[in-house]
């Protein structure tokens, strides 16, 4: 009896979670897939997919999205790995971690507007460039500024999982490697990096996937010089009211994300989860 009671209690705990998943994850995805099979007149059709895969515009946009998401992820990774590594060496890592996470408490839009101020013609960045004698440069609406701001926004999501896997790494492994005569580089490339790879993979998932469909930043910081699939989705839902086509692009994005998860998943899965939720 007691056992049964505990069992039902456990099931009860799952009710809110299951409801949540059903209502806000599974149902919307199904609706999206359903919607993608209708044209603008509400007739059933496969034409949306046909258009997508035969239009050079959409294919170019897809390539663009993946390319920029890749660049953003790379920039984020290059900054985050050393940061996480050094963080582990500091005396009060939790404090520093808090400082790194702090920017995520601020609304994305506010951060974007702040960067508009910093990068504008009369902004701080240009004042500094003038001060050191380089002279003002066009910073806003460049690929550089777009990747810079996107990376800035994504860094906390990359640092966290990497830091978690680095802090889990037993110092004895590093010591053993040194004792056995490995150089610093060898220790890093053959011991530390492979053992923290799960964290890196989790970080890549957390950064690459949202970067694929960034659209607010493409306009605010990129001045629509960078066009990603997010831009097209926004347009189809808000201006042309062609929800079918918008949904089709959405479905393609979901498939792309599944592929990324699959590529970066595998053995790292268990650690990745841990890294993210910790």
């Amino acid at each position: 009896m007691q056992r049964k009671q505990r069992l039902s209690r456990n099931t009860a705990y799952f009710v809110p979670y299951t409801l949540w998943i059903l209502l806000f994850v599974i149902a919307p995805v199904l609706l999206l897939i359903y919607q993608s099979f209708f044209n603008i007149d509400g007739q059933f059709t496969f034409a949306n997919y046909q258009t997508y895969f035969s239009s050079s515009t959409y294919l170019m946009m897809t390539v663009n999205s993946v390319w920029y998401a890749f660049l953003i992820t790379l920039a984020t990774l290059l900054i985050s790995y050393p940061t996480a590594y050094l963080l582990n060496e500091t005396k009060h890592p939790q404090l520093w971690l808090l400082l790194i996470i702090m920017p995520t408490w601020i609304n994305l839009l506010l951060k974007a507007y702040a960067f508009i101020g910093i990068f504008s013609q009369a902004g701080i960045a240009n004042q500094f460039l003038s001060f050191i004698g380089i002279g003002p440069k066009q910073l806003l609406f460049t690929n550089f500024s777009f990747i810079f701001v996107a990376a800035y926004i994504q860094i906390p999501f990359m640092v966290l999982p990497i830091y978690n896997s680095i802090s889990e790494l037993k110092p004895s492994y590093v010591n053993a490697s040194r004792d056995l005569g490995a150089t610093n580089w060898q220790t890093f490339s053959r011991v530390i990096f492979p053992l923290t790879l799960p964290g890196v993979k989790a970080g890549i998932q957390a950064v690459f996937i949202p970067s694929l469909s960034l659209f607010m930043l493409t306009r605010l910081i990129g001045g629509n010089k960078v066009i990603t699939l997010g831009t097209a989705i926004e347009e189809h839902f808000l201006t042309t009211m062609n929800w079918g086509m918008g949904s089709t692009i959405g479905v393609v994005l979901i498939v792309a994300m599944v592929i990324i998860m699959w590529l970066t998943g595998g053995s790292g899965k268990r650690h990745a989860r841990k890294g993210l939720t910790k």
Partner: protein, 356 residues
């Protein structure tokens, strides 16, 4: 088992509360008391002092709710569940709402101020005989330039934008219809064309403009122009008037060969309930004194002829916002296009954005 029940009951309670909250929110979307008027309009599109004055004179309290795009307004009214009495769609959207049977015709016998309006802005194609709508504001699409970087008078026409000296200096408003539209106007074509070949030519022409385009942005254009971030911009007159208020170096030009002429008119959606208040408000806003006060506050051009006469000379004679007849003759009002045609415009426009 008891635990399970309590969890389920708690869930139901939460759902019930949410449903109640949603219902409460919905019914407050447009209050239903008797002495009210529910106005659904663009953000900051009426002088708040006028609303106070209206309440004092007539006793009707105006609830204002705002939208930020014609499409959003259309969707909300079509879905129902609201009780808006008046709304302010733009020209092509009036046509679309009319077709969707979302509008109620005006009872002309209850309107007292219709003779105050300029006949040029009445009886237009989107609403013949003003069966459904009373003009509220009108405006144009044009070019804003900063005289710090551009010699005054050197930009008069759309084609001037293509000059090499404006390389990386122009900002465009992120709107398919307007960007494609000015490209069409620059070629002397109709801004309502649906001919694919003409639209393709317009896109090709835009692609040649790409080196000059610094960015394609939305509302932020105002901020950028005020901060001297760009030398030239293409935007609507209403936005331009706000920019000019913020930076005295800015000027607005409506190319005389043709541009867009837009209207925002007051209409009665089929959700309306407070008809006495509606006609009181329409008549109140038609009074020259009130319309003039509103035009001065908002900064857009008033279609009310008698109100315009009451405006300060500097505003009244401002050719930037009240262009001469010759220019007005060449302006074109957007027609409501079928979804396929809207898609055509947007596809071409998206390709231009990809290109630049």
């Amino acid at each position: 088992m008891k635990k399970l029940f309590s969890v389920i009951i708690a869930l139901f309670a939460v759902c019930g509360l949410l449903a109640f909250g949603a219902h409460h929110l919905q019914s407050s979307t447009g209050s239903t008391g008797s002495k009210v008027l529910n106005l659904y309009t663009w953000g900051d599109y009426i002088d708040p002092n006028l609303l106070k004055k209206f309440q004092k004179e007539t006793g009707y309290h105006v609830n204002v709710e705002t939208f930020d795009s014609n499409e959003a307004m259309f969707t909300k009214i079509k879905q129902g569940g609201t009780s808006y009495d008046l709304t302010v769609p733009s020209d092509y959207m009036i046509e679309k709402m009319k077709e969707a049977k979302l509008l109620l015709p005006l009872d002309k016998s209850k309107l007292t101020g219709m003779q105050n309006y300029d006949s040029r802005f009445m009886n237009l194609a989107f609403d013949r005989d003003n069966k459904y709508s009373v003009p509220y504001f009108w405006g144009t699409l044009g070019i804003i330039y900063n005289d710090k970087y551009v010699k005054p008078g050197s930009i008069q026409h759309w084609n001037d934008l293509w000059e090499q000296k404006y390389q990386n200096k122009i900002m465009l408003i992120d709107s398919a219809r307007d960007v494609m539209g000015f490209s069409l106007a620059s070629m002397g074509k109709s801004m309502n064309t649906t001919d694919p070949a003409t639209l393709l030519a317009a896109e090709n022409k835009l692609n040649r403009l790409a080196p000059n385009v610094k960015a394609v942005v939305a509302d932020e254009i105002k901020m950028y122009m005020i901060q001297n971030e760009a030398a030239v911009a293409v935007d609507w007159s209403g936005e331009a008037s706000e920019m000019l208020d913020g930076n005295s170096h800015l000027h607005y030009v409506v190319p005389s060969e043709g541009s867009n002429l837009w209207f925002d008119n007051l209409v009665i959606p089929k959700t309306a309930k407070h008809f006495k208040a509606i006609y009181a408000f329409l008549n109140f806003m038609s009074e020259p004194k009130n319309a003039a006060q509103n035009a001065e506050y908002i900064g857009y051009a008033t279609p009310n002829k008698k109100a315009k006469a009451l405006l300060p000379k500097a505003i009244r004679n401002d050719r930037q916002f009240y262009p001469d007849n010759q220019t007005i003759k060449h302006l074109q009002i957007y027609q409501n296009l079928s979804p396929e045609k809207v898609g055509l415009y947007n596809d071409r426009y998206l390709e231009f954005k990809m290109h630049h």
